[in-house]
């Protein structure tokens, strides 16, 4: 499954992130993960949200430059070695990672690792063959937040 990442072009100055989160809060869109990469005076804000299309529409309406990038959201064990297993596989298969970030789903149980690679379909096949699960947008928003574990 291929997941969607929102990539927003932004100038590197105070207030830009707040503008984005303000709009998403109003739209009641939930942010699962985010990362920002900067190159001097501009950068890109990346977001994993529960409703990427609706979020893109709302942000674009205010004039922002938003693209949806196809990424892989890989489910990992939140244990020592969890990420290593995946990273070693990518290295063996010669898959280059352009961008990556992760977030914990259930403490000590599971985590999600978001991968931006050049050929997501090819990488997806390789990863799933090795037994990893990948999540799409729906699956990402449907996964139980870790604190529900108590109930």
């Amino acid at each position: 499954m291929i997941a969607s990442q929102l990539s927003i072009f932004s100038e590197n100055k105070p207030g830009k992130l707040a503008t984005v989160t303000g709009i998403l809060a109003k739209e009641k869109v939930n942010i699962r993960a985010t990362t920002i990469s900067t190159s001097d005076t501009f950068g890109v804000i990346n977001l994993i949200v529960d409703d990427p299309e609706r979020a893109q529409a709302a942000l674009t309406k205010t004039g922002m430059l938003v693209k949806i990038r196809r990424v892989l959201a890989v489910l990992l064990d939140d244990q020592p070695g969890g990420l290593n297993k995946l990273a070693q596989l990518l290295a063996k298969e010669d898959i280059n990672v352009n961008n990556a970030y992760g977030f914990v789903l259930e403490n000590r149980v599971s985590a999600v690792f978001v991968l931006d690679v050049d050929q997501p379909e090819k990488a997806e096949k390789v990863i799933e063959k090795k037994g990893f699960k990948t999540l799409d947008a729906d699956a990402l928003s449907a996964v139980e937040p870790f604190h529900y574990m108590k109930y």
Binding site: Q5, S7, F9, S10, E11, S37, T38, S39, D40, T41, F42, G43, V44, N46, G63, M64, L65, K67, I68, R69, N98, N99, D116
Partner: protein
């Protein structure tokens, strides 16, 4: 005191007679060129029709666009065989201009520079370090030949390489320099870095030009170095440097009326303005054979300073250039037209609709930053392709405008939009 006393102190009436004689000869010579032959036929003009200097207004002015449109040989008035030099402006084909010189033209041009430098005190015993770019730029070679003719020892240092320039000052006891004012200021910080007092050289005279600068800036340069700094004015269409120059009175620049017919015109109506009123400087060459130019609109704004100069020279003085009638900007002595930048940007895929040029001065360094809007369809979410776009823009501009700008990519539609003509340049540089 005077390189050529008779001509420099010539009686105004005699000077006017000399000008008329030279003007008539120039009209005749210019008729050999494609452009002026066509123009004269169109307006029905014959050389005999120019019977007084006032008859000059029968001829419509020549503009830079005319020179560009008729690049390269449209203005040539002799055979190519007679030419020994050319100088060209920067810019890609179609935007460039070229000026051709015969041996006679070079001789006259050199004489003007010698006259200027001798006037301010340069002599055979001097050591002259020419810290200006050589090559197609006229500032380098123009001054070089003029100083050589005086008999000074010329160091053709060129521009840049500050530590080496300072080493040359020390090793050879430089007494006179030619430098752009912003570089002179920057160089003083290098002196500081090397812990040498800028006053601790043998330099007693500096010629500063190629970019407009205020009286305050000249004062600052003189205070830092302890030498006399003289304002120099020129443009490649009128040879290059040597058109006008300050005398030791440092109160206005004497413009050499035996070589150039001077008009100050209202830039909109093209009506002549009286001495003392500011307008556009329009010049006609009086001795050029290879490529005479008649009533050239310089786009520089200035006025004639009325009155006689204490130095005794009868050639009138113009005030230091304050500004232009067009949007050309000058950075580190290099002329740049915003349209050049616009043309280059529009060729690059990924560039959006709008851009803004910002000029700043940090200490003594001038910088150019260009904010460029990104095209919506170009952004694919990846930082890498944005970086590549930025690089492409910098490289593309560098080769065209000859300086390296800083490029900031900005969001589409984020730059101020204006009704009518877009304001493309914000110049924050102050004294």
């Amino acid at each position: 005191m005077y390189w050529g006393k008779a001509i420099e102190t010539m009686d105004r009436e005699d000077l006017a007679a000399l000008q008329l004689e030279r003007l008539q000869k120039t009209i005749g010579q210019a008729a050999n060129s494609f452009y002026y032959d066509k123009l004269f036929k169109e307006i029905g003009l014959k050389t005999e029709d120019i019977r007084s200097l006032a008859d000059l207004d029968k001829i419509p002015p020549t503009t830079k666009e005319d020179l560009r449109e008729h690049w390269p040989y449209g203005f040539l008035a002799t055979s190519r065989d007679e030419l020994v030099r050319m100088h060209s402006s920067s810019g890609t084909t179609g935007r460039a201009t070229v000026i051709f010189h015969t041996a006679g033209d070079l001789n006259e041009w050199t004489n003007l520079l010698s006259r200027c430098m001798y006037m301010t005190g340069m002599r055979k015993s001097d050591v002259f370090q020419n810290m200006m770019t050589y090559g197609l730029f006229t500032g380098g070679l123009g001054f070089h030949y003029g100083a050589e003719r005086i008999g000074a020892l010329v160091i053709p240092a060129g521009a840049g390489n500050s530590k080496r320039q300072i080493q040359l000052f020390k090793d050879f006891g430089t007494t006179v320099i030619h430098i752009i004012p912003s570089y002179a200021l920057h160089l003083s910080t290098v002196f500081e870095e090397l812990q040498i007092d800028p006053k601790d050289t043998n330099i007693r005279i500096a010629y500063i030009g190629a970019e407009p600068h205020s009286e305050k800036m000249r004062q600052k340069i003189e205070d830092i170095y302890g030498f006399k700094a003289y304002n120099s004015y020129g443009l490649s269409e009128m040879n290059g440097p040597g058109v006008a120059f300050e005398c030791p009175c440092q109160n206005g620049l004497h413009i050499w009326e035996d070589n150039f017919l001077v008009e100050i015109l209202d830039p909109l109506t093209l009506q002549p303005l009286p001495d003392g009123e500011e307008g556009e400087l329009v010049l006609t060459t009086l001795v050029r054979e290879g490529m005479p130019i008649i009533r050239y609109r310089t786009k520089d704004l200035t006025r004639i300073l009325p009155g006689i100069c204490d130095c005794g020279r009868t050639h009138r003085r113009i005030e230091r250039i304050k500004g232009r009638t067009d949007d050309m900007l000058i950075l580190k002595g290099v002329n740049i037209f915003p349209i050049q930048i616009e043309k280059k940007l529009m060729e690059i895929q990924g560039v959006g609709k709008n851009f803004l040029i910002i000029l700043d001065r940090e200490g003594y360094n001038d910088h150019m930053t260009i904010k460029v809007e990104v095209e919506r369809q170009f952004f694919n979410g990846d930082l890498k392709n944005l970086e590549q776009l930025r690089q492409t823009i910098v490289e593309g501009l560098k080769s065209d405008i000859l300086i390296t700008p800083k490029v900031d990519l900005v969001e589409p539609d984020s730059l101020p939009q204006s009704e009518g003509k877009a304001k493309r340049v914000i110049d924050n540089r102050k004294d």
